[in-house]
Amino acid sequence: MIKKIKVDDLAIFNGSCLFAIPKSTSNLLQPDFDKFMGYSKLFFDQNHNISDGYLVKLLEQRLAAFHQTDYCVTFCSGFWALAITMSALALKDKTEIVMPSLTYRRMPDIAAWTKLTPRFCEVESTTLAMSAATVRSCINDNTALILGVHPIVNCCDINGLLDLAKEKNIPLLFDSVESVYESTADGKVGSFGIAEAFSLHACKLLNGFGGGYITTNDASLAKQLVMMRGFGFIENANTEIVAGMSAELNEMHAAMALASLDDVEKQIERNRERYYTYKDLLSTVQGIQLVEFDERYCVGYKNIVAELLDDWPLSREDTISILNAENILVRSYYSPPLHSKSMLFPFVPAELPLTDSLAERFINFPCGHLVSNTDIADIVETLAFISINANIICERLHKNKVVQG
């Protein structure tokens, strides 16, 4: 590490960059290569050609067992897993989908492909998540579907949403992309609502190069999803019965996801170590507070999110710029929130003051396979350095901006 002794040492002021290789918020798990090849050999050695889905079926069995559900259906991406399932579940002749504004930036695009209109709900300040109370005010006669989205750290109010969905008789689909390993008092994430959606993108807990999956205990939904992802064909019959799509996972991605799944327990141990390193070190820096995992139940410890408190001496924008220049690729937490973005498809305009305020305060920190505990120490030391030198940094940044402007 190149230590920052004076403000000139910061990369934003043309000092040397802290990390030669960027440290990002993507998980980029690297499973064991031999395991990956072992799975790959199954379609070489056993006469399974690349398109007959042998490994896909194996992966689906393994994931269903992992989430303790009856069915798992894989897709080419989490994006299309969500879109196809939304399309399958939305109540007929209704057009609105309720979702939080403080979530994945592409979520409204997914809704747009399904011809559903997003209605954005507020979140709770304590959890950063939607709750029954924040969703209830968004339900109306035109609500087709509730998308229950877990935040990046911990889970949303699952039981509250389940009760509300039941009371209103509206289907509830969970977006559990960030909660693969999480458990609650009522069991593992995966079996709540009608279905739950997950991602196998390289940046997520399970690296399948790309991909996604749905878990469900609903046999008819599982069957429908299998047909929809494969052009609507009924298995072994050349009959097209539902509005289909092309969204199947390929065998190489399945091999990668299987190898990642084999490593998941060890990964959680490594994630836990990283999380505790952040927790211990960030506690020594004034004005920044880690969003802690609820460790009463199983958690994946994957994502590291911290809040910039009122006494943090720099704006979030400046903080992110300074860190990014060092190749510490921190990201603002779901900012801007979805309801404030411009969209060229129908959506319900919303005023969400709490979301607006929360969207200004949180930062995602580097995590995952390529981030060591030493890296974390260096990252936090840099934070402490810019905190101590905030006044002079601010002055120089503003001066530079004036000059550049």
Binding site: F36, S40, F44, S51, C76, F79, F209, T239, E248, M252
Partner: protein, 395 residues
């Protein structure tokens, strides 16, 4: 003699089902080396080095300005339709994979089916005129059977009617029209890199265009990591091709010439042998100066062959020859398009005729010259014994 057929209890000529599709795939050694490289780079998705290499090589191979690779061809065509801002109705050939009609539904667009020309078995330019009205915004023409539709006439027609034109070239990778590679026509063309096609990424697709603005829109819709969004789009499609898919496509692109030669060799055996069997006629790739020869499509003339197409399919299936292809889906019962199709089917006599008379025969990596000879021998024996088979089935 009929006792020699599996349909009547004999041992099938193939122990395992012979699948339809190309299925060219690199050896385990090459696969392992390619993936070792991916693991060393630790770059798995989001426009990685292999994807960039593949797109550059495809641009060079096809002589096209932009090759934009995607996770599958259906998503590729959805992206094209969004990038072209299609609206209302879109004319598509009635013979094509069902995905074209399906993707239009996802986009809120209405398919209008165009009949085929019985000489070329491609979209019939003469039929399109009556399908164009003020609500039609585009034609998605298709290049089928390793051949091509009449691009020149369709382009002139589209221009005269002021409708946009793009091509579904899912099955036409490597084919050339007057020596110009397919990929250079219309606003954009979409290739499929599904394992069943000659250039396989296991699954995947590629959009080609010479239009900078459309390319910029497509890259934003895909989206493209690290590429600044300079154009406005309605929505992203999350259709990136992974490094794993790009690795397979790169190796198969290296092998293209060899694989095309294997197709050519097998095709030649089919052509030579089937030409001697009355009532069976191979559909030759039309409209191209060079074909990838990835399909063997055969029309069954029941009167001359002695048996109907459907009976022949039953015989071939019993012999473990997987027929028909599930790729030409419009003839099958379709809940989604039933009403529309039954309304339009009366005006699609050639399509109707094709669907009741065609068979597809296996060609590709999993098919040996010996297999083709056995299939041709079987077809000949079926013809020779057709009267006897018919009688036995009647009983």
């Amino acid at each position: 003699m009929t006792n020699n057929f599996a349909l009547f209890g004999a041992k099938p000529i193939f122990d395992n089902p012979l699948s339809l599709g190309q299925f060219y795939f690199p050896s385990l050694e090459r696969y392992e080396a390619a993936f070792q490289g991916i693991f060393e780079r630790q770059y798995y998705n989001n426009n990685g080095p292999l994807l960039n290499e593949l797109e550059n090589k495809l641009q060079e191979f096809l002589g096209v300005k932009h090759a934009i690779c995607v996770s599958n061809a259906t998503l590729g065509m959805m992206m094209v339709a969004d990038a072209m801002e299609l609206y209302g109705k879109v004319v598509i050939p009635a013979i094509n994979f069902v995905s074209t009609a399906q993707l239009l539904s996802w986009l809120g667009l209405k398919p209008v089916f165009c009949d085929i020309d019985l000489n070329t078995f491609q979209m019939d330019i003469n039929q399109i005129d009556e399908l164009i009205d003020k609500d039609v915004s585009a034609i998605i023409a298709a290049n089928l059977w390793g051949g091509a539709c009449n691009e020149k006439l369709i382009s002139e027609f589209a221009e005269s009617k002021r409708v946009q034109l793009c091509f579904d070239s899912a099955h036409a990778f490597g084919c050339r029209v007057n020596n110009l590679p397919i990929g250079n026509f219309g606003v954009a063309e979409v290739f499929s890199f599904n394992a069943k096609n000659i250039l396989s990424a296991a699954e995947g697709g590629c959009i080609c265009t010479n239009d900078d603005n459309i390319a910029a829109r497509l890259k934003s819709i895909r989206p493209s990591y690290g590429v600044a969004n300079t154009v406005s789009i309605v929505r992203v499609a999350n259709a990136r091709m992974s490094e794993a898919q790009a690795a397979i496509a790169l190796m198969n692109l290296d092998d293209f010439s060899e694989n095309q030669k294997q197709n050519q060799c097998l095709y030649q055996i089919y052509e030579t042998n089937i030409s001697t069997i009355p009532g069976l006629n191979i559909v030759k790739p039309s409209g191209v100066s060079f074909s990838n020869k990835q399909y063997v499509i055969c029309i069954v003339d029941e009167a001359l062959f002695g048996l109907s197409r459907d009976l022949l399919i039953e015989i071939l299936k019993a012999e473990n020859i997987s027929i028909p292809s599930d790729f030409y889906a419009l003839p099958y019962p379709s809940q989604t398009y039933d009403q529309e199709l039954s309304r339009q089917m009366n005006s699609l006599p050639n399509t109707k005729s094709f669907f009741s008379t065609y068979i597809e025969l296996p060609i590709g990596a999993l098919v040996s010259t010996e297999s083709v000879e056995r299939i041709c021998d079987l077809l000949n024996r079926v013809h020779q014994s057709s009267a006897e088979i018919y009688k036995r089935l009647e009983k």
